[in-house]
Symmetry: C2
Subunit: 344 residues, 2 copies
């Protein structure tokens, strides 16, 4: 099946390359499998509607740092990131199962804090925790959540349906979660050098909250439903706008033209980016973890959507051969790189 021999380092691949390499060989057995690997969630035909299934693993040291992440927030975020994937299929998350591996460094009270966050997210999003697995690890904390949901058959939305000319839309604002992380990392470094130092997080509440306690945009799915708009493609922004645009482009076989002056950023995020010497546009394109929705709509739906406060049209789809570009504020055309967009 696989044709390599010897030792090939994973670092040659990256996450998406590795997934492509491995999943090429999948054989499907069930006619009920409408969509397998390759979207925000799998789609399974249950007769009346489609079921959705997704999973997300968070590993201490790779995805979170308990030096500045309260366990309650971690539990909340772990649930939200899964709900966001179901939401990005235009669906509704209804059930989760939670697996935990933890070392004896964690006390009962620590696990309770984690579950208080999990339960808070379950209450906020009306999701039922229906199972899991709790086990020990030699070191650190790993959380895996699998999320189950559903979507009407005529409402399901993939990464692959965008057509040339469609408008590119994002919800909310971008880059704040990344700037929040930057501030938390900075305070941690200072704290490690000077343990008597009090962290200075004041005035950055919004950014810290966007990093530590993100929300899934189920309100946007409801809004689109109420407006009678069926997105042609959709994805949630977990890895950064630029990366997600490449996913839509690849699966829809289109290119994108994005306008820098349209990208939505919170005024505080803009100011902090300048303070920290970070290009605000880079934060928006590559920041990730905002869990906003990126979607495309037919131009004919523009009138239905315009004027909505939580919605910004940032560009349009072009022919695949034209590639992905950002038109800068100074009207210069920059290529959007798949992983990490190079600033001006």
């Amino acid at each position: 099946m696989f044709e390599n021999s010897g030792r090939t380092e994973l670092s040659q691949f990256g996450e998406f390359g590795l997934i492509d390499h491995i999943t090429r060989h999948i054989k499907l057995h069930h006619a009920t499998t409408i969509k397998g690997v390759g979207d925000d969630a799998a789609v399974i035909n249950n007769g009346e509607t489609f079921n959705l299934l997704t999973t997300d693993m968070l590993v201490e040291g790779s995805h979170f740092d308990l030096a500045y992440t309260p366990l309650k927030h971690l539990g909340y975020k772990a649930v939200v990131s899964n709900i966001s994937d179901i939401t990005a299929m235009n669906g509704k998350a209804t059930h989760i199962v939670v697996s935990l591996a933890l070392s004896n460094r964690f006390s009962l009270e620590a696990i309770e804090e984690l579950y208080l966050g999990i339960y808070a997210a379950c209450d906020a999003y009306k999701v039922d925790l229906v199972g899991g697995d709790t086990t020990s690890s030699n070191k650190g904390l790993t959380i895996n959540i699998a999320c189950y949901g559903e979507v009407a058959k005529d409402k399901v939305c993939y990464r692959s349906g965008c057509n040339e000319g469609d408008l590119v839309v994002v919800s909310g604002d971008l880059g704040s979660a990344y700037l929040g992380l930057h501030i938390l990392e900075r305070e941690k470094r200072i704290f490690l050098e000077r343990p008597d130092f009090q962290p200075d997080l004041e005035g950055n509440d919004y950014l810290i909250q966007r990093q530590l306690k993100p929300e899934a945009r189920i309100d946007i799915v409801t809004l689109l439903g109420n407006l009678g708009i069926q997105p042609t493609s959709m994805i949630d922004i977990s890895d950064g706008l630029s990366s997600e645009l490449h996913h839509l482009a690849k699966q829809s076989e289109v290119g994108f033209m994005i306008y820098e002056d349209k990208l939505p950023i919170d005024p505080l995020a803009y100011q902090r980016a300048i303070d920290l010497g970070i290009d605000p546009t880079v934060a928006m394109l590559n920041g990730g973890e905002d869990y906003e929705l990126l979607f495309t709509i037919p131009q004919a739906d523009y009138e239905k959507l315009k004027g909505q406060p939580e919605i910004t049209i940032i560009g349009h789809a072009v022919a695949s051969g034209e590639g992905l570009h950002l038109i800068s504020k100074s009207d210069i055309k920059h290529k959007l790189e798949a992983q990490g967009w190079k600033g001006f």
Copy 2:
């Protein structure tokens, strides 16, 4: 919600105690949640049938030792243990999502081996791999699989339906996986002391295979369906017969009388247990990882089931107040302990 303060060590609880403590506070929001935490899988009403959802996490160092576990077998076993949980609901597993966290110690070829095992199990059990998450860890390998399946509404089988007088039945034989593990651990110890030593696994193939490449008993579910038998309760034997009997007893509010001379063991397993100085009955009661099915049936179904080669009746359910006991070969009544049964 939780009333502790200070620091309580997890070791005071054990896995089941911790799960009970945490899940006591679950609030459910959906009428479609037929069964949440507390069985082999969650049960969700999808209209025509019930969907099943379960998850299982395997952590290097806690659940497997790559010194003697080929990655291909590990991938196979990770899938099988989930399918076994769906099977124990009298259901059929159809879809899985796989999460991996791995350190840069693993090469592409190692991950390919792991997936060859995952794909082999998917083919053997006609299960579709439809999603996952691949991420990095500082150390070691963690695999989480969530498994989705379905069961007819009138066929679903919980841990809770056993009645006084029901017969207690197991599939296949018990204790072999535990003895296989024992042999692998022994060879590893010898190898670590004398690296020039060749492992002596000859003549133990069946035991090693039961440990490294277990199977889920979907054939038993088919058999029961063909015989027209609806089990009153069912669970898969992952932690050992004694532990599983306690789960059935607790949730069905019954006791059990089990007969030592009825417990099914493979002749090779019996011989190796004696060779290794292990009480074969202890191996059967506490061994775990055999992934056989333990279930109960009404006495009226005895005639339908008797004479089936892969089925053994090992006892019967009694009133809850009578507790759980083993009647030894010498006709002495021993209490069956929840965790680890004390030998004679």
